[in-house]
Symmetry: C2
Amino acid sequence: TISMKAIQKMRCFVVYVSKAATKTQMEFDYDGPSMKTSVPGPRSQELTKQLGDIQNVGAVNFFCNYEESRGNYLVDVDGNRMLDLYTQISSIPIGYNHPALLKLMTNPHNLSTFVNRPALGILPPENFPDKISESLLSVAPSGMSRVQTMACGSCSNENAFKSMFIWYRNKERGQTAPSDQDLSTCMVNQAPGCPDLSILSFMGSFHGRTMGCLATTHSKVIHKLDIPSFDWPIAPFPRLQYPLEEFTRENAQEESRCLEEVEDLIVKWRQKGKPVAGIVVEPIQAEGGDNHASPDFFRSLRNIARKHGSAFHVDEVQTGGGTTGKFWAHEHWGMDDPADIVSFSKKLLTGGYFQRDELQPDKPYRIFNTWMGDPSKNLFLAEVLNVIHRENLLEEVTRSGKALLKGLYELQGQYPNILSRARGQGTFCAVDICDDETRNSIMLKARDKGVILGGCGDRSIRFRPALVFKEYHVHIFLNIFSDVLAQLK
Amino acid sequence: TISMKAIQKMRCFVVYVSKAATKTQMEFDYDGPSMKTSVPGPRSQELTKQLGDIQNVGAVNFFCNYEESRGNYLVDVDGNRMLDLYTQISSIPIGYNHPALLKLMTNPHNLSTFVNRPALGILPPENFPDKISESLLSVAPSGMSRVQTMACGSCSNENAFKSMFIWYRNKERGQTAPSDQDLSTCMVNQAPGCPDLSILSFMGSFHGRTMGCLATTHSKVIHKLDIPSFDWPIAPFPRLQYPLEEFTRENAQEESRCLEEVEDLIVKWRQKGKPVAGIVVEPIQAEGGDNHASPDFFRSLRNIARKHGSAFHVDEVQTGGGTTGKFWAHEHWGMDDPADIVSFSKKLLTGGYFQRDELQPDKPYRIFNTWMGDPSKNLFLAEVLNVIHRENLLEEVTRSGKALLKGLYELQGQYPNILSRARGQGTFCAVDICDDETRNSIMLKARDKGVILGGCGDRSIRFRPALVFKEYHVHIFLNIFSDVLAQLK
């Protein structure tokens, strides 16, 4: 419920979105940050202490008042209102408390979906095929008409990997059924039933933290230390120079080097008796430091996968959902046949993955768990997609992203000793800071001035606003960021 | 919303629950099964065909009308109303559309929790410490005051395993920080950074299907075939004779044999250079065939773990939440110090695990992901726990369970060629059928008469009703089950 105080503080304004026809729409949002205390304030500190008796709170930034948060603004429990460019680790698609989502909650026909969570794989609700058609299938990547929902990003990648392993072994067996030896050895974790297959991943990648995913994650020590893993091949990811268009020759060379290494590793691991069943890659390495590669790189990689009989899995958990200006980041590659599997989560509100027909396991219960997703998240997703369409949010993202990147270039010119390597696609932007300490200091100073940022890689700041982040939000951000940088000098 | 038709069909009755003071309560439920078609009916078949274009539908039983379902009765899209003894793979705690849960949805103060899913690990909502205290901590197992929520059962076990690995390596290192070699090798999946540690599990166990969990799951071929795994030790789980009290001597011998094997494996794997960091076990093996063991067995196992420096992880994903007559099945062991980690999901509506203080990782971000659970599920759980308390549901479960097991014993006496090994704790009961084919035939016939059952193991039927399954529901079930058996003869 919206308090009167909050309504009074809100600003109601008209946004003109369409280019041809002028479309008017009302949006609730605040008119700017408003800071009452430094962050975390006293109430956040008190709650952190309280939660510390129950959990490790070392990662807690502050406590939030989600009821009072609106649009691009996150409000904390001390009454601070901050422009949010991190959006819950890039997982809030259309801002806080979007009226369309609140309205959905008040529809009595939706109650039962929240109260009775089904075992989707065996007893789906009547509206499940329709809801999944109007939500996920309406944004299916090119070449894919099959989708499986899961509860989170890690589960999505784990099950995507399993689908690739099953597909690869079925391909090896041809028409032959699994042997008795396959069946008996798999029960005790031994080959050939549990085969020595591998997934090729890239240094700097992040694909999740469950043990299968973690074997393909190579972004930070803290994720991996002390956890047993698999001997799987790890290729270098191109380390490009930015702006990309100014270093096309150097970057192409660097990409060739990495692609050669990929092929070498595939051959080497086949010789080791651990064939590469699949290659997994992010369109932009996010957690690992917002590392980009060219459409050419990904097209070549897809071809290498095909040439060696490996499946090609594009992990769009962070890049998916519109933030690059296209619904899927891999659409920028311009291919009809970009991937065998595309996984998602975060802004899609449900985890899951799309797959080509031949990647679907041959038998039921091979990819299965109790919940297999959550239909209440599909309800929200369908409405989010309506809003994206109705409010032309992909166009907005493209426009805001250009303004953001332009602003970063300008600041980078102004502060060459602090900022470098500004880069981005849509609002999925980042900039490097001279060192880790300065990065963290900038982020804290910006927060105290009412802007929430996230870090990634060794010393990058990543920008992950919601899709409702407009050009004027960019300017609010740039003004504050500029002030912070000025004070640093 | 409840249709008038549904209300007319419902029966409103008074249940006397308390022994001392007579407590009156009203409950909505139907008065019995009502079948219009065989199952799946035509509408279910049509929807299955539709969904088949999107997903593998080989496991789909039928499509449900969750809005019309009530209490112990699941209604399908063809208007069939069935008494549900499987409850979405044991994941519905207090029946369908419980008024307390519907009421929670109409409270406008809860809206924001559904609409704005936070990244709990960094930006928790204001009420999070209170909600987690009044929900999960109010049912914390003995010796545990720390709890971590996760999105599902597999993620819970994966992260519990990771906590055990981290704890074990920290113990090995003592006060020493991780070496440079630890840090560099972990990034490329190699020891010592990614150490050769193992988890000991039992044949017949089920702990989930993501790759770490799957290495400890040994119940069915279909779960494991074609997925790479770890070389971890697998001990035999006692194969007891039932009723347990009639075979105490034989069962004790069998349990000793298994415990000896556990110790042998721990020693053997230490010698192999893959020390056992943790032992994971279900209080009753569920998916693997409802295999019980005695409190003595588990007490000894816990002591073996302690003796060898391994953590002891009790997986209560299926047994937890009250269905055995105690909130946690391991409470039947009567120990002050039963486990180091207790994981849960299903009836708890959120995944997660409790842990002893020393099992909590030393640093933030070691156990972490974007969502770290879902506060909207904590809201429901708090209300479910209120209902369990208010309606004395653990006593009800004990009473219904006794009636159910008594009925199964009687039918087993009557049909010795069909039924054997009736067993159970609370309503967490099972019975073996002479063979797999007969088992499946019984389950389908029962369904067409309005009773939903689940299978487990090679040829068992498992009973997993909700906690609101009362003695008169037991009799409705037994009457129908008896009819089915009579027709089989």
